[in-house]
Symmetry: D2
Subunit: 317 residues, 4 copies
Amino acid sequence: MADLGAIVRDIAEEMRALPDKGKVADYIPALAGIAPDRFGMAAVMADGTCHKAGDADVPFSIQSISKVFALTMALGAVGDALWQRVGREPSGSAFNSIVQLESEHGIPRNPFINAGAIVVSDILLGRYEPREAIGEMLRFVRALAGDDSIVVDEDVARGEQETGYRNMALANYMRAFGNIRHPVEKVLGLYFHQCALAMSCRQLALAGRYLMARGQNPDTGRSVVSPQRARRINALMLTCGHYDGSGEFAFRTGLPGKSGVGGGILAIAPGVASIAVWAPGLNERGNSLAGTLALERLVQATGWSVFEPGLGQAVVV
Amino acid sequence: MADLGAIVRDIAEEMRALPDKGKVADYIPALAGIAPDRFGMAAVMADGTCHKAGDADVPFSIQSISKVFALTMALGAVGDALWQRVGREPSGSAFNSIVQLESEHGIPRNPFINAGAIVVSDILLGRYEPREAIGEMLRFVRALAGDDSIVVDEDVARGEQETGYRNMALANYMRAFGNIRHPVEKVLGLYFHQCALAMSCRQLALAGRYLMARGQNPDTGRSVVSPQRARRINALMLTCGHYDGSGEFAFRTGLPGKSGVGGGILAIAPGVASIAVWAPGLNERGNSLAGTLALERLVQATGWSVFEPGLGQAVVV
Amino acid sequence: MADLGAIVRDIAEEMRALPDKGKVADYIPALAGIAPDRFGMAAVMADGTCHKAGDADVPFSIQSISKVFALTMALGAVGDALWQRVGREPSGSAFNSIVQLESEHGIPRNPFINAGAIVVSDILLGRYEPREAIGEMLRFVRALAGDDSIVVDEDVARGEQETGYRNMALANYMRAFGNIRHPVEKVLGLYFHQCALAMSCRQLALAGRYLMARGQNPDTGRSVVSPQRARRINALMLTCGHYDGSGEFAFRTGLPGKSGVGGGILAIAPGVASIAVWAPGLNERGNSLAGTLALERLVQATGWSVFEPGLGQAVVV
Amino acid sequence: MADLGAIVRDIAEEMRALPDKGKVADYIPALAGIAPDRFGMAAVMADGTCHKAGDADVPFSIQSISKVFALTMALGAVGDALWQRVGREPSGSAFNSIVQLESEHGIPRNPFINAGAIVVSDILLGRYEPREAIGEMLRFVRALAGDDSIVVDEDVARGEQETGYRNMALANYMRAFGNIRHPVEKVLGLYFHQCALAMSCRQLALAGRYLMARGQNPDTGRSVVSPQRARRINALMLTCGHYDGSGEFAFRTGLPGKSGVGGGILAIAPGVASIAVWAPGLNERGNSLAGTLALERLVQATGWSVFEPGLGQAVVV
């Protein structure tokens, strides 16, 4: 097998040459202005090596990828009681759908669609003051990545707040069912700031290491979550991480992954690598077009599907 | 770690003692008559060893588990062209829901809900004469299991045919969209017979070995499907194998699995084991209650989640 | 006010000159072959006078308009017990939608969508042998119209039967819920034949007189239904007679009406007139485009809305 | 026929004796505190006579009945352009459903469900300053009723505002589609105040006279709306005035009507009477239980269905 660094660089080159790169999210100016031909990729291996290519050190808006970190924090705060307020099933619907909330009485299908992540924000506000909560999350993500330079992009946060009518609708709707318990503005304040976290592929891949490493932060050796919880977060990422494109992503890559509307994807090859990719053009389901293809290529070249026998044995270097 | 044979036997004992065993399917007499306290389990390892307990050699109606074998055959017959007629997304709905077919123009969400499996039957009828098709499938499953004693339970097939109004509705509905191309009676004739395959846990686990072994039949060394296709079928089982309980099953076990209304589940630990379990009592989503719990226990004891680093290395014996 | 005969002739002329006449139903050859510029209109007054224009004596396929006569027969057969199996609410959905049947357990919203009319056919089969039922309906409609020359168009009936997969789906689906009790082929046999009744505008307007005349057949003076039941059938026609275009039709004409995919509409001005119009081109909701417009013009010219004070006093002649 | 005053009094007596009076709305204290055995009824005839019984002079919260007056004002302000932003079809869904808004891109089905009425409020804010708008509506309703003592119940308005999360969800959701154009708080401020109008049956029946009288205010002889628009508002009331119970109401009474969650119903017998009834206990669809029954009795006794030939001729006195 080719050298992994070369694989990553080849993929970046192929992606840069793609004729159709999808459509950049344009609902806020701070995202609409991103050049569609940006592409970055970083794979942090179990041993700490990082293979990267393209714009792997350029920060971008991680958006819904933050839902993985928020869920991890909220599980730490309230444990499995969280699952009384959020489901664990793929929704079969778009990221911002409100339809199921009506028939399912305000309980969102999973923590990785907007409605579910808003409930997770509400749960965090039961633990932290609104003013503190985003700071806590920033500290958490910085510690995971081992990088104190990660920040919230206030332009993005402001843009979300000014246009987030669907999310306001979702939050108010769930409040009507009693599944949002703090003032909607505060819940969404936290949610919009978390979505506005700006990270590079390298930082994101570093932050995702605990999900590849049985729940441990390799920098500190400390447990972020239990091995079982790490497996379960991965399971949720595989079944629910790409909205109504989750099945397709699992079919094509075989990796737990979480996408964001900023064009990023975090994917986990348990025991092997934490991988982040960024390509701002989206496919028709709101997931990164070239990012998905890049991960598919990576799995073809390396065999890093969770469905591949002996994943974690045959690690390339 | 404890000896695997002992683990399987302990699980069987625990399951037999469960106070609530769920509700046995009762829509046809041949299923309604099954005793709810039946329990069998068999795990066939990569090296061919088989660990089993309880009623592991008693044949039961595999029902929807047959969808895995039918999909495999149909992919062999027409290749990826199949995906123009069936999707690859979790449905978020019950096994026999007709709702999505209306807005999605007769294209079922995936091959593991009834509508999708009926399209797969229709595809097989493009390759085999109706009279031959069920014989072909029987030959196929017998070859996979290395066991010529597997049969179709004609009582069950007849029962399905007499009560299968929902499936007739699904088939006619898709025919209205042009996604069923053969006469509905013939398509359903094949579908009902395939669902009526009677297999024991041991036979089922043997038949599933190609999905653990990169697509190869270990008996013959011959390729049943390519390694990539084996990974992809596993991915579909993980995201779609338990209807609107698929996310929950993935969350709890971390294994690709396919359930049937007869109470069986086939689960795959790639590179490690093909596992079949049978407990006829169902949970509220139509999946085996004790069967799911048994697989959760097995994963807890063995670490055989696909999300566990190094699965396939630490094989217990 | 102008003379009513002149009004009807002027409308016919205006309709013939319409640039866009809509799209003729093309799911069966016997309908697809109808020339889109056909237009007929007939208004039978309380005193028996008939004003007509255009193709008012050319028989066409009345299709879903037959649902009014079938409902009337079924109410005669089983009385208000019928309403335990069919609702009385507008569906808000297309004529052949299956979606609501799932959440509403096989009870169709009203007797004027396909699903509801199929249940009405099933109810009639509880009273008449399949072989007799269509003969009974023919006798009933002939008596209402006072015209023994009305027939079933067997070409149309055969066409429906050969392509009616959606209706087969609806019938099987409701049978799964126990709301169809006779063999699906027999229920649909009756349904397809009833839809294939061929009537001219004049015959249809004559057949509808009992709905304008407090339930009486003016020819015989005999009660077809009670005055209350006549009012209620009119109410159902107003709220449900045009599928998901019912509100629009009521808004524009203010008349109880029932449309058919053959391009006919029967409309009732209680105490004043029974009106039939035929224009085969359909709008996007499957209702006659020029037919609806013609009735709107008629109401503008005559004030025959049920919401007009004193309707029935100011009858023009 | 009995004297109409006696009919109204008999109905009031029968309703007071009803064993099951339904469930009083309890989502705000100001409504929850209303005694369930309240009953009032007032029928204002074309000649100005008023027949009343029970609590016909006790003001109650008219709630959604205000949607009729708001629609009338908004049609006066922008004319039929209003229909580009609100539909005219029965919804087939509950009063506060959000489901259809998703598939129908933020266009509510009709102006008498909450979402539609919120758009109507937004349209009024295009004409009046927020601070003025509720004053204008109050002036309008007072002029219609010829009664300057009508007020807004501020307790009710405050209660709505504090608990109106579903309405906030609806408004924000439609704002995401661009169908709400003013700040959500201001739109809902108007909406909640309009719902909090307190009127007695007598005042309400007086205010509804223009809908019986071809659009004229009988006090002033001035046109409130054109005769055609009066007919059309009546048509909308008949098809959409009782949410997903509209078909049933039309079937049972044959009258255009609009219900409110406070237990009131305004019903119109064109040319004959404007009728208001109040009974705070609701049926399972959120419409007044005894109010509906009272109107059904009234129609049985008087024949005032719009589907009755010659309505407006046979006026009882």
